[in-house]
């Protein structure tokens, strides 16, 4: 097990399986088919939301809902924050978002809109460092503490 310490953007605790994107995570491309059209698999309760970003083979077609999404930053369209907010409002959000770098403005917008305007719980930690993203692998268990400590095992 390895422990990392980051900065708390949205407080909370979570424990979930990691889904790792070493490239910038394109929020619109990842979620648009699942959320904006209404991925049929995503419509039912407790079913998955699959990543639709064909340009990011590491996460393409993988389930995102309830995962500990580990990423450097998000990229792409400025609808990204709105998409993340909508995921939170529908209860389809990741369990947490863990950024190795400083959070970007779109991810911050989405996370904050989700926190202020919905009941969803999605702790967000940033500045976990490059070593975090080098160490964590998809499938590992990630635990987020209230103070921004992230345990990976």
């Amino acid at each position: 097990m390895k422990t990392f310490k980051g900065r708390v953007i949205v407080p909370g605790t979570a424990s979930a399986e990691a889904l790792v994107s070493h490239e910038g995570f394109n929020t619109l491309a990842s979620y648009q088919m699942a959320l904006m059209f209404g991925d049929l698999k995503a419509m039912g309760k407790d079913t998955e939301v699959h990543c639709g970003d064909q340009n990011n083979p590491e996460v393409y077609k993988k389930p995102m809902m309830g995962k500990a999404l580990c990423l450097p930053q998000t990229i792409g369209s400025t609808t990204g924050g709105m998409v993340l907010y909508a995921a939170c409002a529908m209860g389809k959000q990741p369990a947490c978002m863990l950024f190795s770098k400083h959070i970007d403005s779109l991810a911050a917008s989405g996370a904050i809109l989700g926190d202020v305007w919905t009941d969803a719980s999605m702790p967000v930690i940033d500045e976990l460092g490059d070593e975090f993203l080098e160490y964590v692998q998809t499938g590992m268990t990630v635990t987020v503490k209230e103070d921004g400590v992230v345990e990976v095992e």
């Binding site: 059209f37 709105m82 779109l106």
Partner: protein, 424 residues
């Protein structure tokens, strides 16, 4: 974050709970970036990225209802991104069923909402709101609360305005409050370049390819691009602005660029030159081989990669008037060369309504119509945002459309060759 008395009162609920939540959202947003204060939004108009009423996005419209029901409207009027539907764009009965009965069932509800909130006009739905015909043209140094990645990067880079890459919903909150947190691209330091990009191409680089390569390399950093003035000149004329519009959209969608500087061309680069480059900036050299490498690496996700193209979209972001005229002339010349009178592939050019109106007064429009090509105000991205399009062989010269959909990217020349029937 230190708020002034009025901002603190709003946060404390002096204008109700909804306004307090709007200000709380803006404060948290600023805190995430170490903003120390709010600054007034000084542009005449805002711009929202949300232009669609998608059935499953109810939470967004419910939030807007909360704002409207609280009696809150935007301090400034705003333009909006392009509409997702236009009956002039080719579609099958099944497409129409999906668009109208499943996907965009909330379009009327949403348009009614933004009328109440302050959209400038029913004609002002475009991602290229900064074109003269639309008239949302901020001045140098203006502080904006905009979203739409291609518009933000254009306003920052070509117009010298100041805007962060805000998200949809949050941009409206800044327009409503009349202030935004000061950080990032709103500050002098945040506008300095982290990268020097040296363009060493032997021919004029394709705007959408160059932007894509730079976006993927620098992500959200600010690039200072050298060597492009050789191809674009040193005057921000219509041609240079159109190139930078398309280039910027690709940097913003293939990466997360909110501002770029072009040596000897964009306003801050002209004024400050290399003083804009941060100490220790990284260097990225781009030549023809590098652009070719980037192009070859784009995935083709058509079900049948060798399928015959069924539809071509040209104009993401929306075309300027000069671009529409240029494309028309190129299509007409290409058809003539290939002994045809009609386009070989259903082709849609997209542009803002006020630009289309002006274009319709020209001879180019008259001739283009005869080729069967369509000029539309639609958002191609919204059109393609459904599973039916995955089985359609749609081609585009937009790297933004390629990024978000199954559309296949070709260069301008290749697209022209295909739609005019010259391609083998």
């Amino acid at each position: 974050m230190i708020l002034n008395q009025e901002q603190q009162a709003l946060l404390d609920g002096s204008k109700g709970d909804v306004m307090a939540k709007i200000v709380k959202t803006l404060v948290m947003y600023g805190d995430a970036f170490g903003a120390e204060r709010m600054v007034p939004v000084t542009s005449k108009y805002g711009h929202t990225v949300i232009s669609f009423g998608i059935g499953v996005m109810d939470p967004v419209y419910d939030l807007y209802d909360q704002i409207i029901n609280a009696g809150i409207i935007s301090d400034q009027k705003f333009t909006a991104d392009p509409r997702p539907l236009d009956k002039n764009v080719p579609s099958t009965p099944l497409d129409d069923l999906v668009f109208k009965k499943i996907m965009y069932t909330k379009q009327d509800r949403y348009e009614e909402q933004i009328r109440k909130l302050g959209v400038t006009s029913d004609d002002d739905y475009t991602c290229a709101c900064y074109l003269d015909q639309v008239g949302n043209v901020p001045g140098k140094g203006d502080v904006l609360s905009w979203a739409e990645s291609s518009a933000v990067v254009y306003a920052n880079s070509v117009l010298g305005a100041r805007c962060n890459r805000n998200s949809g919903i949050l941009e409206l909150m800044g327009s409503i409050a009349g202030f935004v947190p000061e950080f990032g691209l709103l500050t002098d330091e945040g506008r300095k370049a982290d990268w020097v990009v040296e363009v060493r191409c032997e021919k004029k680089p394709e705007a959408q390819l160059l932007g894509s390569a730079i976006g993927m390399k620098v992500m959200e950093d600010v690039p200072y691009v050298k060597g492009l003035d050789k191809w674009l000149g040193t005057e921000l004329n219509d041609s240079a602005k159109a190139y930078l519009k398309d280039f910027g959209a690709a940097t913003a969608s293939n990466g997360a660029v909110g501002l770029y500087h072009i040596e000897n061309l964009t306003p801050e680069a002209v004024e400050q030159g290399e003083a804009l480059i941060k100490e220790g900036a990284q260097v990225y050299v781009i030549d023809d081989a590098e652009l070719e490498r980037v192009y070859k690496n784009y995935p083709v996700i058509w079900k049948k990669p060798d399928a015959k193209p069924q539809l071509a979209f040209i104009g993401c972001p929306h075309l300027s008037l000069q671009q529409l005229k240029d494309w028309s002339n190129k299509v007409l010349d290409g058809l003539k060369k290939n002994g045809r009178t009609k386009v070989a592939v259903p082709t849609v050019f997209t542009a803002p309504v006020p630009v289309i109106r002006e274009f319709e007064q020209t001879m180019e429009s008259y001739h283009l119509k005869k080729t069967g090509a369509v000029v539309s105000y639609i958002c191609p991205l919204m059109y393609m945002n459904n599973p039916l399009c995955k089985s359609k062989a749609v081609i585009t010269c937009s790297n933004k459309l390629r990024t978000y959909t199954s559309a296949r990217y070709y260069t301008d020349a290749e697209i022209l060759d295909i739609v005019t029937g010259g391609a083998k």
